[in-house]
Subunit: 359 residues, 4 copies
């Protein structure tokens, strides 16, 4: 089934398994004449790559991206941009033991139920490694969006520990391994996650993505609402179980008075909103305010504690997972969430160009 | 922009404005030889239609559906099924007053920003009336899914008042105007919403949809994950601001041990899960357990309290909305949420048929 | 299967059977603020409608179009435009006799093979009546293309009788029932087709469509080539068996020297081509020259002569078709071919707008 | 614009320029558990590759395909199959001379008009080299179709010289460099094309593709007719200017009596057609007869004779093309045409599986 593509006008298709020779992405629908080189993409991949702190898997991957097509003399040509990342540190033997076992909370059973077989090495296609391709596509999407639109993310909750929003400082995000915008929360998370890690356990998290500078008018009414697109995009990331826009679930306890973002006439004739419960989207279309989305990431399924499960033959066993895993995968989902929002917005921008002005 | 369609193989397209002559839906991709008549569709529309209690808008619509094509001698033929519902109780004059005003928390400003004009009568295309077409499509989707798959929904929270899950009784849902499965909560909500209604205010809610009998293997990995499809589908419903699957945001505070749904060998060789934090979906593919999704509905934007806003000319005004509105739109979103989940599942079922077995 | 839609950004979906209550089309992706009324669409439908000469079927249909949505105060709003045409002159009883018979050269057998049933009344969905919806969509497409782009068609061959191209006069097309641009050919065709008609036989034809004023740059390389789009669009019209662009099949007997359209610098800095063997398209993208496409229409399958065929039960019979049929359907395909080319171009124009200029 | 993909359920996306490091194709939607190795794909590429006779370009390419993903332990897994072919014999310097020139009958001008720049080396993305990826995708499509469906092609006309159909012998096709099924025609073509080649000229051709064993019922009515899909697919091949199905343009001179393929009850209860003017497709759906399609290939644009043209700056020049080109590209289009028909049929088969039987 053709389910490995994302987007309509700005559309990318990813391929590759965790332990195959390489993974890659083909980006179709990038406008011509945009400057693009591997140096524009690599920093975003570096931000996502594993092995950068003791709070992440120790798999070592350079994640060096190669541009194979679509760029000529430093500029995009309008043709497909093929990007490839070779897999280096694959230890497939680690996975021999689980080839006939359904690891709980993994996709093992469902892939087997669907296809009758699975590439069990490192999760195959269901591995988080696939998200490197999303990040690469997101880097190209940012190029389309241009410098006026900024998309940033941060981890805002790990386990029960939420950041204090009044201490939010974007500059802190790059300064700690959790991508936490609240400096005072970092030591709390360090102790908490270190404890989780030592136990061989794992913990969930919440990530927030903010897109600034998005003009009013992007998105479509009804089924291709901008928030519907963002919700689908974020929910498609491995381990994500919930998505909310603006006030999100808190909107359920608000009255109409509390929820309504009142409007005044702002500078330069642009309407101004006095609050942003809408998270920058009304009726599926951007309002010009910041677009704010949050998503929950479940705990990494691979843990040391033995879990009850079954084999492909139906035998009941207890399974304990050793290996190189992230005690909290949340922070590594931050660049992936940013990338998906960038791709949704780039597609919406191109779609908007097709129809926004009088022909 | 072609954004009024939903689905791939089972695909429907809706049209029509709140105060135009009619609304309708064209369903393309319904398999042949399924029994179908207006009587199969009407009951679902009746469940959604307005004017049925003092807690809902008093607009009176018969919402009588007509089948215009695609059915011959009582059976679907494989050709497009065109359904039409005439608009009856349109009081467009009510809307003259707001034709040049951006109602806060409505799509008025964003539609105007996008298109430079809008059909202001009753919200035009952005009206909740469009959801009747979703419900009609959902009725056909249920026909495709067959009697073994049941999709039901309920309101589980209004404002701060959550139901008690241990009192959940599906039989209660049809017995109260809130579609509440907890009989003891009904009088609490009655008092609470009546108070909101009398003040001319409104309040948000949370709705839960449960799909039972879905076989393992539906859905696709990566970008067309079943949960990504459900998230996009539910978020595309008017006023929805958040979606979660299974444990949802609660997964953020769970450890790997708490979150993992352990497996045992069940009856008749089918694997059995001991819990359902996954909400019936792992790796984007159904597990065979109940699929459980929840979504938050924001309070109806139309309230009596004056709100600060601006006109299309930039004048700053205070706006108070009179008219026929729902104090809590949540319960009326229940059949819509059910319908969208039914459509996602019908599409996934058809897609699965294309690839599941050896050719 | 969702196969009743055409186009990507400018996308329409048709529905309805020949003898159902109505047929219709939903147009999604029309830009906002274009003037549109039923009077803009009706003339094109009138050009296609049956019963206008003794050389066409005597079925009487007003083919009066109604706009049900998407237009407000005389302008498009960017929302779906729903158009409906009621069926009036349906004589379904005429078709009782063939309900269990596969009429040769019709879709009867293949629809039955695919779906296991068929709406046999007047061909159901496979009726040429569906093309009225294409013509309606084409009228909206012309509105998007604007007055600088003209799309016209003519019948250029009936049976063995080809027009003389040096006598081509567009003004003649509207002056005869064959839509023939060669006045001297009209009496020849009159005699020829009248003879065919009296015998209860039928004959094939070739139609040519010319689009003038199309700017260079529309279309896409590789799989969405403009000529691939036109070929698919024209071949999707009932009874069409062949399509060619520019020199078409004659290119097979040309040398590179004969085929190449040489270029000179033209007026106002626009390149000029000295010939147009390419038919206005190179590498799948428009050159700025006239786009020229031709298609062959097979003879109407319904004829008086008995043909050998079988029933759904496998009985072998001889079938003679009486009723109201066109002795040569070619001329009635002219407005349909124009409409399809208009729709392909409108879609290409919108797609081009998304990517053509630097962001 | 996302225009480098083909197909819906069986969908492939190609990338790469003629003189970049590699070209490739990502196939999404191949069912699981099909045996697949590089050895299944390479023979089809070998049939297409250049440099195999004096009648084809002398560019030497091994065209060795590598499978990068989607196959595990010799079987497809249902995940994307990424195939890559490295470019070896690129002489980009040959193209420096034409970097600012629009070669007549090439895509040079239109690509420049669309994108404002072009990768001029060897035609970049518009090179016939892209068709290797189509052939690779076609090999996978054949695997899906299985051994009962055979798709073969042959050159049936070069310049004015048509084969004699009564001498058609499939075994001859592999025995001559023209893929000619008429042994007696081979020496005629040899003399004719050798003369063309010596003059530095080129000539057009007609290719025929025949698909045998296709069951009745594949394809869809209306816009996704099987013949519309084949027409679009074949017209999307570089240099193709015309497509016909069955009788094709000859249908224009047929009466209804001549054109109708009469039916009798055949062996094993399967209907039998007495002729095949329909080319195996009625109403857009396969009849069970052979599917027969023909397409015209224009002469290679690169010729020695000087042609009038202009530069990107508007200067008028005369251009003579030296280099390694095919005097008649027709025969090399045969495997490409086969591949495209195979891909259309594989997609139709998967689509059919989704809807053909009662759920």
């Amino acid at each position: 089934m053709a389910s490995n593509s994302f987007g309509s006008l700005f559309r990318f298709t990813t391929w590759g398994e965790s332990h195959g020779p390489a993974i890659g992405v083909v980006i179709d629908g990038c406008p011509p004449q945009l400057p693009l080189s591997e140096e524009d993409i690599q920093p975003w991949l570096d931000k996502r790559k594993p092995g950068q702190s003791r709070f992440a898997t120790q798999r070592q991957e350079a994640d060096a991206v190669k541009i194979l097509s679509g760029v000529f003399e430093g500029k995009t040509t309008g043709t497909p941009i093929s990007l490839m990342i070779e897999n280096a540190d694959t230890r497939s033997k680690d996975y021999e033991a689980i080839k006939d076992v359904f690891r709980p909370a993994h996709a093992d059973y469902t892939l087997w139920a669907k296809y009758g077989l699975r590439d069990y090495r490192g999760g195959g296609r269901a591995s988080g490694r696939e998200t490197a391709c999303r990040v690469a596509a997101g880097a190209v999407a940012r190029n389309i969006l241009g410098p006026k639109i900024t998309i940033r993310g941060a981890t805002v909750q790990i386990g029960p520990h939420k950041i204090h929003r009044e201490r939010w400082n974007w500059a802190e995000v790059a300064a700690n391994p959790f991508l936490c915008p609240d400096a005072a929360m970092v030591p709390v998370w360090e102790d908490y996650v270190e404890d989780i890690r030592k136990k061989g356990s794992s913990i969930g998290a919440v990530v927030e993505i903010v897109a600034e500078g998005v003009p009013a008018g992007l998105g479509d009414p009804v089924y291709d609402k901008l928030d519907a697109g963002i919700a689908g995009a974020l929910m498609s990331i491995n381990a994500v179980k919930a998505v909310e826009i603006g006030a999100g679930f808190a909107a359920a306890i608000m009255t109409g008075e509390e929820n309504a973002d009142e409007m005044r006439q702002g500078q330069a004739g642009v309407p101004e909103f006095l609050t942003n419960n809408a998270g920058g989207i009304l009726g599926g279309i951007s309002t010009g305010q910041n677009i704010v989305a949050r998503f929950a990431v479940k705990p990494t399924p691979s843990i040391l504690s033995p879990l009850r499960t079954i084999t492909t033959k139906g035998a009941e066993i207890d399974l304990s997972t050793k290996g190189r895993h992230d005690p909290c995968i949340g922070p590594r989902a931050v660049p992936v969430g940013e990338a998906m929002v960038a791709c949704v917005l780039a597609d919406a921008l191109l779609r908007h160009r097709a129809l926004s002005v009088r022909l």
